[in-house]
């Protein structure tokens, strides 16, 4: 009988996995650069040229928020949906799963790692908004916005993991695309939901993207989110936690001899 019956503390293991994943991500610079470039380019193409939007402080701030959230959702779904599915096909993966740590620390680390790289992506976006549009926030609103966007990214990271642990990399890619774009559109990340007809607005309010967007807009501009935004987001988060845990549990790794 061995003297130790407990794994290392949860926080220590999470920190360990976060360091490991951060190093792995940062050593492949293209993934970091892609994350940083995408939101900035969208900003230059879709917002800066439209003087009507770019010149209006509230609209410009809302546009930055919407694109920022889209970037974070996209990064979360792709990094996790596709990234996890790819990781599972690596021969190192079975070894990772046999180390004395449950799924928790690895998942926590993935969420935090996603958050860190989302922040890298947001920085240039915020700079462009500040330099080239009339978007304006106080320091308090900026910090609240960043906090909100990270919190809002959690359900998307979880959804990504649920997909990544359930599907092969080949299947995960189209599934992520099919989920991401309708969600982003219906959530008002591309077009402001004020332009939506009533029925679409009703559907929109039930999506996690819309709930997240409105909470983010509230944090950055002060425009009140609809009352159900927080419960809707919390509900989706709980559902995605359950899905992610279930996918992880049923995942027996790829078949090998």
């Amino acid at each position: 009988m061995s003297a130790t019956t407990q794994t290392q503390p949860f926080l220590a293991l999470s920190w360990l996995h976060l360091k490991y994943q951060f190093l792995e991500t940062v050593r492949v610079p293209i993934s970091v650069i892609g994350n940083v470039l995408f939101p900035s380019l969208s900003m230059f193409f879709f917002v800066v040229p439209q003087t009507e939007v770019a010149g209006n402080p509230e609209w410009a701030t809302t546009a930055v928020a919407g694109l920022g959230l889209f970037a974070v959702c996209s990064a979360s779904l792709f990094t996790y949906g596709l990234g996890v599915a790819e990781d599972r096909q690596l021969p190192f993966y079975p070894f990772l799963r046999s180390l004395p740590a449950g799924p928790g620390p690895q998942m926590v680390a993935r969420v935090l790692n996603g958050g860190i790289f989302s922040l890298f992506g947001l920085l240039p976006l915020i700079l462009i908004g500040w330099l080239f549009t009339a978007a304006t926030v106080t320091i308090g609103q900026l910090l609240a916005g960043i906090g909100t966007i990270l919190a809002v990214s959690v359900p998307f990271v979880l959804l990504g993991m649920a997909i990544g642990y359930a599907l092969s990399a080949k299947a995960a890619l189209p599934v992520v695309q099919v989920i991401l774009f309708p969600l982003a559109f219906a959530g008002g990340l591309f077009l402001p939901p004020q332009m939506f007809p009533g029925w679409l607005d009703a559907i929109s309010q039930a999506t996690p993207t819309r709930a997240g967007r409105d909470l983010l807009v509230q944090a950055t501009t002060g425009a009140e989110a609809y009352t159900l935004a927080l419960p809707v987001l919390a509900g989706w988060t709980l559902l995605f936690i359950a899905l992610a845990v279930r996918s992880y549990r049923t995942d027996e790794g790829r078949r090998f001899r």
Binding site: T7, Y20, L90, P91, P94, S98, P100
Partner: protein, 282 residues
Amino acid sequence: MSAVEVRGVTRRFGDVVALDDVSLEVGPGELVGMLGPNGAGKSTLLSLVSGQRKPDTGVVRLDGRDPRDARTRTVLGLTPQETGLPATLRVREVVDFVGGHYPDPVPTGELLEQFGLADLGKRQTGSLSGGQKRRLAVAMSLVGRPSVVLLDEPTTGLDVSGRTALWDAIREYHAGGGTVLLTSHYLEEVQALAERVVVIDHGKVLADDSLEEVLSRVGVRRVQLTDAAGARQEHLVPDSDAFVRDLVTSGTEFRDLEIRGASLEEAFGQLVNHEAPEGALR
């Protein structure tokens, strides 16, 4: 209590039966070699013992507990497949990462020193040679001072000196009271290390005995002759003297008789082929 206990375990992948009602017990401090051709079920068995998979039926215990529970695995060390090291991480980072999962890891510097990797600590694992990767893989299995170690083909592809150095490290670990379950398709390796040998093929345990016993079972000779029709025949027989006597007595025509000791590989092949049930998968 057994260090590793596998009782009546069956594991299928679709239609393929990877393990067919396998039972195996490894006591604390034993060094057991598992032999079998590719696809025999060795890796599947290791993946069950390390908690990566669950058996369809049967029971798997590690240190008396379910290896699917992460807490049980604090006593376990194992090697990743050589191709599976995270290529962009540095040697030191990988060892630190694995060691961080255990309550009392061997200090990374000390471990790298022991495995002759001290100068390579800052190298990315992707840039290591095959032999260096093997050494790192075995080092990773021992960093947590485990009481049970699973080594999957620890020295495949190594040259003689690299192999001997790793064998020494494994012996040293075992001498300190550690339990080792290692797979290999090199008889030589099992012969050099193991006290007990388990031969597995087609998902079944064909032999489970002391090294001497298994070696004597596979102590066969190879007899070649050309028959009356001019066809070259080859026989692997346990007693070549008796075979030749019978051959002569039977009056069969033959020429160019040749007898030599079968190589271990051939002998092992014979054991595996003759005892495997006809038509079984894998």
